[in-house]
């Protein structure tokens, strides 16, 4: 069983608005030095899904990421959780990808890794919020794809997947190799273990440039985009919040109750 999990390094989505600034030229947001980079939370759950399969039946879990100057502490987290191998597509030309150019490069890398039974991705990235990469990888590789999984079980060359649907789930079967995107309903991802951290400290990631996966830089990153970013702006949040006060905090609380009743809110 050979699994590839695709992960994206993003700014911590738990960071608040005031810790980001607009990079108008590149049409993106940049976090201040206070904002840590993290593994996209949905991708972390995809790693967890792979490790659950590994725990149950044994599997080789390969982690694949794309970008430039990726933070080693971040991209190694899945290895510290129990993954076996780390592949990094690192080059300046990978920057500014959309779902299309990212998936094209990831698909080429998966082809190069070879003999892959299962490709796992998070259902969407918490920054770009597109939810396309998994479906795009499947399309580029000609593989079937199941989206928004909350449980994956493998038996022989069949994966049984529970997909999240409104008010419940749908159980589907797909023959491997296949791509599955993982949703938060899968549950909490495990923490890195001391044992895995010690074991993987010496692990050297495999580094690939576009040429290593048979691509030219002009179809990667910004140049390879199909969706043209025309503008990025910050919505102005100003609800004109009515801060209800009082002589004491108790009084402020009572005044809030009165105001909400007056406005027929509560």
């Amino acid at each position: 069983m050979n699994i590839v999990v695709c992960i994206k390094e993003i700014f911590d989505p738990e960071a608040t608005a005031d810790s980001f600034r607009l990079d108008a030229a590149n049409k993106t947001l940049v976090g201040s030095s206070k904002v840590p980079k993290v593994v996209n939370p949905f991708d972390e759950q995809a790693v967890e899904a792979a490790l659950r399969i590994k725990d149950k039946m044994g599997a080789r879990v390969n982690v694949l990421s794309l970008g430039n100057n990726l933070d080693r502490v971040v991209v190694k987290k899945p290895v510290h959780m129990g993954a076996d191998e780390l592949f990094l597509l690192e080059d300046e030309s990978f920057l500014g990808s959309d779902s299309w150019s990212a998936a094209q490069a990831l698909a080429a890398a998966i082809r190069k890794i070879g003999d892959v039974d299962l490709v796992l991705c998070g259902r969407q990235a918490a920054d770009s919020n597109a939810g396309q990469t998994g479906l795009a990888i499947a399309s580029f590789l000609g593989l079937p794809c199941v989206t928004v999984a909350r449980k994956i079980e493998v038996s022989g060359d069949i994966a049984t997947v529970e997909r999240v649907i409104a008010n419940g789930y749908e159980s589907v079967e797909v023959r491997l190799p296949a791509v599955v995107t993982v949703s938060n309903e899968l549950g909490q991802a495990r923490y890195p273990s001391i044992k895995n951290i010690a074991k993987s400290n010496a692990l050297k990631p495999v580094l690939w440039k576009p040429a290593d996966i048979g691509l030219t830089p002009d179809i990667c990153g910004t140049q390879g985009r199909r969706l043209l970013a025309t503008k990025l702006f910050l919505p102005v949040f100003d609800t004109n919040c009515e801060i209800v006060g009082g002589e004491t905090v108790q009084e402020a609380a009572q005044n809030l109750a009165v105001r909400l009743r007056q406005e027929r809110i509560l």
Partner: protein, 336 residues
């Protein structure tokens, strides 16, 4: 964009229509209205297509909601949604109708079918959009969508046809039913004989949630890091009972084990839009605000007056919830 692209044979705005047991899905009414504005700006028409095993009668209604033409594909294999079959079917429809613009709801089906079809057609798609407009000179579809958990809005355009987008529920006003007679939909014959469906649906299970469901609740009382522990949520439950609200929480509250995962509000949890959202000890991280920003009224209780939550809240009190909640609840009871 050059002239060649504006004189395309692709014309009109096509809505991928969805139905419920009762009739047109609300997202479809929203798309018919939003799509009509695009069609008007283009001087073209708004059309809708419905696919299913028995969808004709419910699709009829689309005419009264503004569709100039309604197309129906009925086939026994279209009874339950499955990716390969629906892509093959809609692909043939698009080949036949050559729409300039094709829009889906960012729904259970649309969020899956839209990108699937787009990559099959080797066309890009923008997902989870909240507004769309036509760029005058080039007739290009400009799509706006929230990124970075709603901290920023991004605008996208693309070349090639059809221009595609999925649209977030409740981001557009639904079309009103007009007095016009239901126009008879046109049936399209599609050949699904050669489709190999690679994903087999075994079962669909509906689970009844215990108590008041988060997404259905009219009032939600939610807690975050500031609650300090599971005990804090006991106080919130009291408050929930008083205002007949469901309990929710931030990712921090879930990560710390104070509340179960199912109660998480946010991008990686449930997205809610209640009438009233009471946020206690929640600073307002983007990932959380994505999940509750569409609430009609947000009430914030936080001891940090600079917390970003106050920029998106309508009413707030600055202070420790341990002092505020008892006094607030007592006063509410007193007011009856």
């Amino acid at each position: 964009m050059n002239g060649e692209k504006t004189t395309t044979e692709h014309k009109h705005v096509l809505v991928y229509g969805e139905v419920t047991d009762e009739g047109l899905a609300s997202i479809t009414k929203e798309l018919l209205n939003g799509g009509k504005e695009l069609a008007d700006a283009l001087g073209e028409e708004i059309h809708a297509v419905f696919m299913g095993d028995s969808v004709y009668d419910r699709a009829k209604e689309a005419g009264a909601f503004g569709a100039k033409k309604t197309y129906v594909v009925e086939d026994p294999t279209l009874g339950k949604y499955s990716g390969d079959t629906f892509v093959a079917c809609l692909g043939q429809v698009v080949e036949r109708l050559k729409p300039r613009i094709l829009i889906f709801g960012h729904s259970e089906v649309g969020a899956d079918l839209g990108p699937r079809l787009a990559f099959e057609l080797r066309q890009p798609i923008s997902t989870d959009c909240v507004s769309m407009e036509i760029k005058d000179d080039s007739k290009t579809l400009l799509r706006t969508k929230p990124v970075f958990g709603g901290l920023a809005m991004a605008l996208f355009a693309s070349e090639g046809f059809p221009q595609m987008a999925t649209v977030r529920a409740k981001s557009m006003t639904p079309a009103e039913k007009s007095g016009a007679d239901d126009r008879e939909p046109m049936r399209l014959d599609v050949d699904l004989g050669k489709v190999v469906e690679r994903v087999k649906v075994i079962d669909r299970v509906t689970e009844e949630a215990k108590g008041l469901k988060l997404e259905d609740a009219e009032v939600i009382v939610s807690g975050g890091r500031g609650m300090g522990g599971a005990d804090g949520f006991e106080a919130l439950k009291e408050m929930g009972k008083l205002v007949n609200g469901a309990i929710g929480g931030s990712r921090v509250a879930v990560d710390n084990g104070w509340i179960p995962t199912s109660l998480q509000v946010g991008l990686t949890g449930t997205i809610v839009a209640p009438r009233v959202y009471v946020a206690v000890g929640i600073s307002g991280a983007s990932q959380h605000m994505t999940g509750c920003a569409r609430s009609q009224r947000i009430i914030a209780i936080n001891k940090d007056s600079a917390a970003p939550i106050f920029k998106q809240a309508h009413f707030g009190v600055v202070g420790d919830w341990k002092t505020i909640l008892p006094a607030f609840m007592e006063k509410l009871k007193e007011l009856g």
